[in-house]
Amino acid sequence: MKKIKTPLDKAQIEKLKAGDEVSLSGVIYTARDQAHKRLVEAIKAGRKLPIDLKGQMIYYCGPTKTPRGKTIGSCGPTTSSRMDGFTPLLLKAGLKGMIGKGSRSPEVITAIKKYKGVYFSAYAGCGALLAKYIKKAGPVVYKDLGPEAIHRLEVKGFPLIVAIDAKGNNIYARRTTKI
């Protein structure tokens, strides 16, 4: 299992190949549909972003409420393809990694290649298990969005699979067979 740390640099990204199992440590930010919409609106309007995306990773996740005495609630990935329309612009703004579940559009794959990013798949539907790898968590931006707010997460050994690497190799592409 390869170990990586945020912020992601060129050397780390180049080593990752589609299908690799990876353990991630460092800081990541959650963002889902509405946060993506706001970030992209800010970029288009030329406003400063509330978080610096350079070298950062976004996790498509909206956690449940945090039970008393725990760091975070259940926190698995949501469907990535809903973010496809926003992702190329975020990659252009410096974002390096995305974590979610499921396939991405050809436009996203092209942008991943162009800006040398990487897309990871997290264990889908396993939010209780994934919570164990989160050491610190809390909303930082767009708090009015509740579970859709941007949360800052400190993770240690968070398990991922490289789904689309910087060369555009895609683990989902070769899967489904015509019957």
Partner: protein
């Protein structure tokens, strides 16, 4: 007439919301374990183990199985010899809110789908039916939207071939692909009207999953489609394998001579529901 207090319903709904979200259904867990034995693809096998482990952690640590604690769907069957003292719908709503708060579940509901402001816990989707007897049955199905987004409806011609219907269901699963947390449970509703077929497809997810030899024509149909789905090689979490769907649950209702409505409602592997009789 038997009197049932609204407060009792409220408390039961709250309990069922927590139960459903924290405890994976026994039949789903058993089916996952059986699928792990049958799966030959080594990564698929280990991913099913991860899914099973997640369910055990959720139960032990009292944390939701999935962060998407769904749009709560509440099915109510009221015996016609019973009556509710108090406001039934208000009791269900209060119960959902109380359960979701107490269980630290997620507020995932936007009041106006077009103006999407801060998410809340309410309202649930409520289905009420009048049945025989004097009891009241409550079923809570928290439906995650990763998979709800993959639902499909098609109005077939009455002369459509069975193979066309099978293809439509298989294609619905292919379209869901790796996105909606496979292995799936596929709910299929056939007959009635457009809206009723969609309801039946959802209701089919409440059926207990049992591995049985198909006896009737309908069971054979369901079995054939399930086998075709499991040849798609989508597999657990979409990374390949023969475990693409754990089950195909079918609900059938008579329909009009001019039509043949078919609806598909897909559930992720975290198929959650809990029921109780009052």
């Amino acid at each position: 007439m038997r009197k049932i207090l609204a407060k009792k319903i409220e408390n039961m709904v709250a309990e069922l919301c927590i139960l459903a979200n924290l405890n994976l259904r026994n039949d789903v867990l058993a089916t996952l374990k059986a699928a792990r034995l049958k799966e030959k693809h080594s990564q698929a096998k280990s991913l099913i183990s991860v899914i099973i482990q997640n369910a055990l952690i959720a139960k032990k640590e009292k944390r939701a199985i999935c962060q998407d604690t769904g749009m709560p769907c509440v099915f109510v069957e009221i015996g016609q010899k019973a009556y509710v003292e108090g406001d039934l719908k208000a009791a269900i709503k209060k119960g959902v809110e109380a359960g979701y708060k107490k269980g630290f579940l997620r507020n995932s509901i936007v009041h106006n789908p077009l103006v999407r402001q801060s998410p809340r816990y309410l309202p649930p989707v409520i289905h009420i039916d009048i049945v025989k007897g004097s009891k009241l049955k409550l079923t809570v199905l928290p439906k995650g939207f990763g998979c709800e987004n993959k639902a499909q409806l098609k109005m077939f011609k009455p002369t459509a071939k069975i193979s066309e219907i099978k293809n439509f269901i298989v294609e619905a699963v292919r379209t869901a692909g790796p996105d909606a947390c496979p292995p799936y449970v596929v709910g299929v509703g056939i007959g009635g009207t457009a809206d009723y077929a969609a309801f039946l497809a959802k209701k089919a997810l409440l059926q207990r999953i049992e591995s049985r030899k198909p006896q009737t024509e309908n069971q054979k149909f369901a079995n054939d489609v399930l086998q075709a789905i499991n040849k798609l090689n989508i597999g657990p979490m979409g990374l390949g394998g023969k475990t693409t769907a754990l089950a195909l649950n079918l609900e059938i209702y008579p329909t009009h001579i001019a039509g043949l409505p078919v609806a598909v409602n897909i559930s992720c592997h975290a198929l959650r529901s809990a029921a109780a009789l009052i």
